[in-house]
């Protein structure tokens, strides 16, 4: 039997990786975004979008380059996932609502790759090198947000939970700062709760940590949700016709 859930709608769409997904999970079912396009970060590796003839699409054209060691079956799964993501993106663009995005909140992945140069010593590299590396790493994500801004009235970027190991601190913080600087420069609003939920080194305090090693817990999500509402406005109780109801 289908039951209509009483829920409120944020007049915004959400795009992103697991950080956005965890916020979404925390809010639902009481509050939902109008539209979503979310998937684990690996689905946004490499050149994941194209912007041609006024459009913006998720593409799988370069997926082999992004996953050179993946076998054909895995590639097929990734292609299907990107097709689904593109369909979701087109819905988001058509809706023309503000977007909350965590695409590129990839400090964890970046810092791990930096450390891979010398697993025993993660503090090898100067901040200038880390920023230069991060500047290149974020290029695709910044480009996507720049294109996205051509289609929607506003974009807010959600920084992920700041949970760096000691030997990845510099790389992690360098990456975050580069994302903040680059996205701010193109007009993306930043949702940054590190000062509120972190210590004096911005590292997430234990009371905000989820049980995994990467994400924020419900308390963290709640604070993030409040900041999102500050930026996109309070939720409304008016479902759109197109909004799909969940079955419970």
């Amino acid at each position: 039997m289908k039951t209509r859930i009483e829920r409120a709608y944020l007049e915004a769409s959400v795009i992103g990786d697991s950080h956005a997904m965890s916020v979404w999970k925390h809010l639902a079912p009481a509050i939902v975004f109008r539209h979503s396009m979310t998937a684990p970060a690996k689905h946004f590796d490499g050149q994941f979008y194209t912007a041609e003839k006024g459009g913006l699409h998720i593409t799988s054209a370069m997926i082999r380059e992004a996953f050179p060691r993946a076998d054909a079956d895995v590639i097929q799964v990734m292609v299907k996932a990107r097709e689904r993501l593109d369909a979701q993106l087109q819905t988001i663009l058509a809706a023309g609502l503000p977007v909350v995005s965590s695409l590129g909140a990839a400090s964890y992945r970046f810092a791990r790759r930096v450390q891979s140069a010398d697993p025993d010593n993660g503090a090898l590299f100067s901040r200038k090198i880390l920023r230069a590396a991060a500047g290149d790493y974020v290029e695709t994500f910044v480009g996507f947000h720049e294109e996205l801004l051509r289609h929607v009235p506003a974009v807010s970027f959600l920084l992920g939970a700041c949970r760096y190991p000691d030997n990845q601190k510099d790389a992690w913080l360098a990456y975050d700062q580069v994302m903040i600087d680059r996205l701010s420069a193109i007009g993306v609003r930043i949702i940054d709760v590190r000062a509120q939920t972190g210590d004096d080194q911005l590292r997430l305090l234990p009371e905000y940590q989820a049980q995994d090693v990467l994400h924020g817990n419900d308390q963290w999500c709640q604070i993030v949700a409040e900041r999102i509402i500050d930026q996109v406005g309070p939720p409304t109780g008016q479902p759109q016709k197109a909004a799909q109801l969940q079955s419970k």
Partner: protein, 360 residues
């Protein structure tokens, strides 16, 4: 019969040199390493800017040139050399003199002896022993010394693991701190820092000094790895400028290179585990009649570099040292790869910066 009867072809000028002049082909038997070398050996390369070519040639030829100090994988390829990665086995920057290399190895052996002088300019801090390693300078003193610690750690690790240490000597002219003895990579005030005639002294190292420094270098290498073999080369790239009062740069260049060449030969004569590779001769000798220098008469042409490196690889066995069946195709490919690599881009030379002070 006399000692000059029935010598091999390479022993006579007519057949060893004149016959091949202008051809660009290998001079047969130019370099037959006296130290045992094989394709399985791992090589460290350090030295003047010309040493960068040797490292790249080894790598492209499929030999094990060790890059001990690596850039983070996420740093784009195009930025790695700007930050001093991949030029040599370590992020030392150009090591032009034996005194510079000796200083690095002493610090590696005993980091407590490391000098703490820095060149600070505003919020930019340059390392006096490698002022161009971080474009625009380090942002903090902590970053500077963390990076130096990383290089010292890499030096020790590389020397522990490698089989052959290739050092390309570039200069005898040196600047140092009169009080502390710190040897600078370049004259203070040229690339960074401020020149102070009371504190900064010029030295033009003589034969005995360079020889003593190389002996100490060998001892320090063996202190970490008793099996380490050395190959010494001399960069054929002339000095950009000389600081010898009243001297002509041509005379200073020939004097400097002659000392380095002679000391390198002396080291090879003294020690069974030290060899000399004649890159200097191949580029510098006019009898070979090859276009070795660019229009500035200083930079070695890509063809000249490739010519040198083909001899180097041939000596290392790409042509002749294989114990197994001959592999001409592979050798040809290796040489082609070396040629292509060497034609790609110029080496990064700090010393060339000196010419911007030439107001003539």
């Amino acid at each position: 019969m006399n000692p000059y009867s029935k010598l091999p072809a390479q022993a006579y000028w007519r057949t060893g040199v004149a016959r091949h002049a202008g051809s660009g082909k290998l001079l047969p038997k130019l370099w037959s390493p006296k130290i045992a070398l094989s394709r399985e050996d791992s090589f460290l390369t350090v030295g003047s800017c010309f040493a960068q070519h040797i490292g790249k040639a080894l790598h492209r030829a499929g030999l094990n040139r060790m890059l001990v100090e690596k850039a983070p994988a996420v740093l784009p390829e195009k930025m790695r050399e700007q930050f001093g990665y991949g030029l040599f086995s370590f992020r030392t920057g150009n090591v032009y003199t034996a005194s510079m290399l000796l200083q690095w190895l002493r610090w590696m052996a005993d980091p407590s002896r490391m000098d703490r002088e820095i060149w600070g300019e505003g919020d930019e801090f340059h390392d006096p022993v490698r002022p161009s390693i971080e474009p625009g300078g380090f942002e903090s003193v902590d970053d500077l010394f963390a990076a130096r610690d990383a290089t010292l750690t890499a030096l020790r690790r590389g020397i522990e693991q490698a089989d052959v240490f290739i050092f390309t000597l570039g200069l005898t002219e040196t600047w140092s701190n009169r009080e502390t003895g710190l040897v600078y990579a370049s004259c203070p005030g040229t690339q960074a820092g401020d020149f102070d005639s009371d504190r900064h002294q010029f030295t033009n190292a003589r034969f005995a000094t360079v020889l003593d420094q190389l002996q100490q270098i060998r001892d320090l290498l063996h202190g970490v790895n008793p099996r380490m073999r050395m190959i010494l080369t001399v960069s054929p790239v002339p000095l950009t400028a000389t600081a010898v009062p009243g001297a002509h740069v041509l005379v200073s260049t020939v004097k400097s290179k002659s000392i380095l060449r002679a000391v390198a030969g002396e080291m090879a004569d003294l020690h069974d585990d030290v060899d000399y590779f004649p890159s200097y001769e191949l580029v510098s000798h006019p009898a070979l009649s090859l276009p070795m220098f660019e229009a500035d008469r200083r930079e070695v042409t890509p063809e000249g570099v490739a010519f040198v490196m083909r001899h180097f690889l041939a000596g290392l066995g790409v042509d002749e040292m294989d114990a197994g069946p001959p592999r001409p195709d592979e050798d040809a490919q290796a040489r082609a790869r070396a040629d292509i690599a060497l034609a790609e881009g110029d080496a990064i030379c700090d010393e060339v910066e000196l010419d911007k002070y030439n107001e003539n």
